[in-house]
């Protein structure tokens, strides 16, 4: 069963750019080989860490979103644990959260459409000031 996962990890800041790119490409290949589909790879860039991690005060944050099953994630995490350029990582399951947000958005969208049956301009005019 393919679920959506978000993996955020911190890469050592003192690597060269090609090395980090190579590392990220390798990770993506590992993920695809294990049967995952990479949806996006977002580099946040260098950030100051809130506390020292392995004696580093800065780190390169990367966010990887992918569709995978549990085994692929397990495999990916194992590789990240072994890789000494990756300082920290956290995997979050996002599919249920996304479903919940979708549901809320749908309810909101359907709710807005109902009042305008009687007074369209009033409902439309009221909403923007409230949300702003």
């Amino acid at each position: 069963m393919q679920r959506t996962y978000e993996v955020m990890f911190i890469v050592r800041p003192d690597l060269q750019e090609e090395e980090t790119d190579k590392l990220l490409a390798t990770l993506q290949t590992h993920a695809t080989n294990a049967g995952a589909q990479v949806q996006s790879l977002d580099k946040w860039g260098k950030r100051r860490l809130a506390y020292d991690v392995k004696k580093f005060q800065e780190g390169l944050y990367v966010l990887l979103t992918l569709q995978a099953d549990g085994k692929a994630i397990h495999e990916l995490e194992r590789r990240m644990r072994v890789a000494e350029q990756i300082l920290k990582f956290i995997t979050v399951r996002m599919d249920e959260e996304q479903q919940r947000l979708e549901k809320i958005r749908k309810i909101r969208a359907s709710r807005v459409k109902r009042p305008p049956v009687e007074a369209t301009p009033a409902a439309e005019a009221e909403n923007p000031p409230v949300t702003a």
Binding site: L49, I90, E97, I104
Partner: protein
């Protein structure tokens, strides 16, 4: 007063149980701010949950600026009786802050 001592001895001290968290529900109970150092006799003004009002559903651990508003100076999570957040949002907020701490976006203990 028996309730006060009861809450003081439970392990989750600072957070009052959900039932007494609703302000205006028990007007006969004197001090509105439970666990307050001063023991005020009047009700604290009704604080509203920021997430309910602004309709923010996505409390993400990546959103450091949003989370920082609910973290004290020393890095501790602020109890909901001070921020006025409702229970489900406080729970999600707490989980997000803990995740952010794990990924070094927020400190565990500052200074």
């Amino acid at each position: 007063m028996a309730d006060e001592t009861n809450q003081g001895s439970t392990p989750s001290g600072p957070r009052p149980p959900a039932r007494s968290g609703d302000r205006g529900d028990r007007p006969d109970r004197g001090p509105g701010g439970r666990g307050d150092a001063g023991g005020r006799k009047f009700f604290r003004r009704k604080k509203v949950c920021k997430f309910c009002v602004e309709k923010i559903d996505d409390i993400n651990y990546k959103d450091v600026r949003l989370l920082q508003g609910f973290v004290a100076e020393r890095g501790k999570i602020v109890p909901r009786r001070l921020t006025g957040v409702c229970t489900p949002h406080q729970r999600r907020l707490s989980a997000a802050i803990k995740r952010a701490r794990n990924i070094a976006l927020l400190p565990f203990a500052a200074r």
